[in-house]
């Protein structure tokens, strides 16, 4: 009788006696066995370690995002200083010159108006932040109402001439 050695606490109800054919470690239980503290401690340790790892990842990402934000503030200052326009709506693109790099493209109107409604000047900016600004390495122009795609660029200058169509 496989169930003969079971304590009353471990005994399954009548309708579940079929499971008693299984070895004890495989049998289902109605409730958790008392004294399973070792598994609880192991699980809790894993949870704490995972939690700490996630916390480190979050703080690291927060610091990374903050650094990026500081850089973007410098980029906006640079664009406004270079064009001598104190415009608010300047688009920032972090993909064109390499995602994950610190190279950005900032586009804004060359004269006042709704965002993108005038000829736009795009500046390619990278390098260290000095005095709250970074270095403009080149750029291009876009016609009004066009997004920054290669086929629409013209007047490329500086180190990014290759990014204009021939």
């Amino acid at each position: 009788m496989s169930g003969a050695s079971l304590s009353s606490e471990e005994r399954l109800p009548v309708e579940e006696r079929r499971w008693e054919r299984l070895p004890p470690w495989l049998r289902p239980r109605i409730s958790e066995q008392h004294g399973s503290g070792r598994l609880w401690r192991l699980e809790t340790t894993v949870l704490v370690v995972v939690g700490l790892f996630l916390a480190v990842a979050v703080v690291n990402d927060l610091a990374r995002q903050t650094r990026i934000n500081h850089r973007l503030v410098a980029d906006l200052t640079t664009w406004r200083h270079y064009t001598d326009h104190d415009y608010k709506n300047i688009s920032i693109d972090q993909e064109t010159l390499g995602a994950g790099s610190d190279h950005e493209v900032l586009c804004g109107n060359t004269s006042g108006g709704a965002p993108g409604s005038k000829t736009q000047i795009c500046l390619a900016i990278w390098g260290a932040t000095v005095g709250g600004r970074r270095t403009v390495h080149g750029g291009w122009y876009l016609p009004p109402y066009y997004e920054d795609v290669r086929s629409e660029r013209y007047g490329c200058f500086g180190a990014v001439r290759r990014l204009c169509p021939r």
């Binding site: 289902p28 409730s31 996630l54 990842a57 934000n69």
Partner: protein
Amino acid sequence: MSAVAQGEPRLAHERSERWVSALATVCGLLLVAIAAEIVVDAAAGPSPVVPKSPELVGWLSGLGERLGYRGFLIALLVSCGAYGVLAVLARRFGTRAISTRWAIVLIAALQLIVFVGPVLLSTDVFSYVAYARMGVEHGLNPYTHGPDAIVHDPIYRYVGHDWDRVATAYGPLYTLLSYPLAPLGVVGALWAMKLEALLASAGTLALTWRCARARGFDPVAAILVVGANPLYFLYALGGAHNDLIMMLAMMAAVSLVVVAPAAGSSTRSARREAAAAAWIVAGALTKATVAVLLPFMIVSKRRLAPILGMVAALALAAVVGYAVFGIHGINIVAALNRDAAFVSTDSFANEIAHLLGKPGVFPIDHDLLKAALVLILLHLLWRTWRGYDWVAASGWALLAISVTSTWLLAWYILWPLPLAVVTRDRRLLAATLAIQALFVIHQTSPLLAPVQ
């Protein structure tokens, strides 16, 4: 002498309870004030917190000032602090600190304030309306077309840019529920969606109360931890997310199982388990995630009833879904696979990738995360087989899904919360709230370095 000795601790005890009660009141009032401030300011004009929306709350527009993202984040952090204190007091002191009536009034006020305000923090509700209008007004199948198939419809311009080419990923039950709202017009349908979310939230809280009481927990603390959670009332309810309907079905299933009839016969409890499984299927036909509860319930009960309930509900849904939407309407796995490939900046997977020096999540990472999730689910199933509470195991499973997902949004980390407050394993509640805290902390970079 002894009377004096007994009297002093009692006096001190009463005094400390008064302090606790006063502190809870202050925290509750702070939550209400912040919710009102956010709603009134969000209605004042263009804000990064409010998606482009048709005119919904014109009568609120003159009351507040434009809500900036920094202002919202500060309000969110303060409300999270107040919620944290309130939750600790509610769990520790129960009705001695917070009366039942006060808790219900507080939660109702928070929900109603958000309900009367504009849509907050997400464009999802516009997609819900778009899918409904595609089916009812334009005769298009929302499982085969994205909202860009109805570019001339008035709802189209409000659909999120990332989703305008994407067919619906929601279950056929939810899509059918949304169909009667389409003829109400865009504004009418949006209000109906908001009302649906409010009622689902109220139902979820009522069932959470019921489950907590049935399991011997303080129901007031349970509903406060869920209903006063800022992510719950600002993000889930504020965005009128259908996750609330999914959570309602989830809690209906749990309450059917855990609230045992007074003199329950085996047949009666089998019927309740079958109905519970059908409720989970109904929830999964709204949003598929909740289906993860089924294996835990089945393994825990080890009876035929939940399996029969599940099969019957699935068969009915398959017939109706196929009849109305065709094969695409019942192929939820394809929709899940498509959405599983998305990556959001707030996902832990993305943050870990950055920690490891990678620019983002690669395809191999998706596979690793899926493998990790499978291992966690197998461990939880084994634990449930060996007597661990299936409700807690389900909560852990939902938490694991949100943490390993590469597409994580605030309302996803609410899924396990109603389960966490009705289980004896306090680690689940601690882990759920810790994950929510990490999510909120990750939002705060604009506070540290605003880009202007």
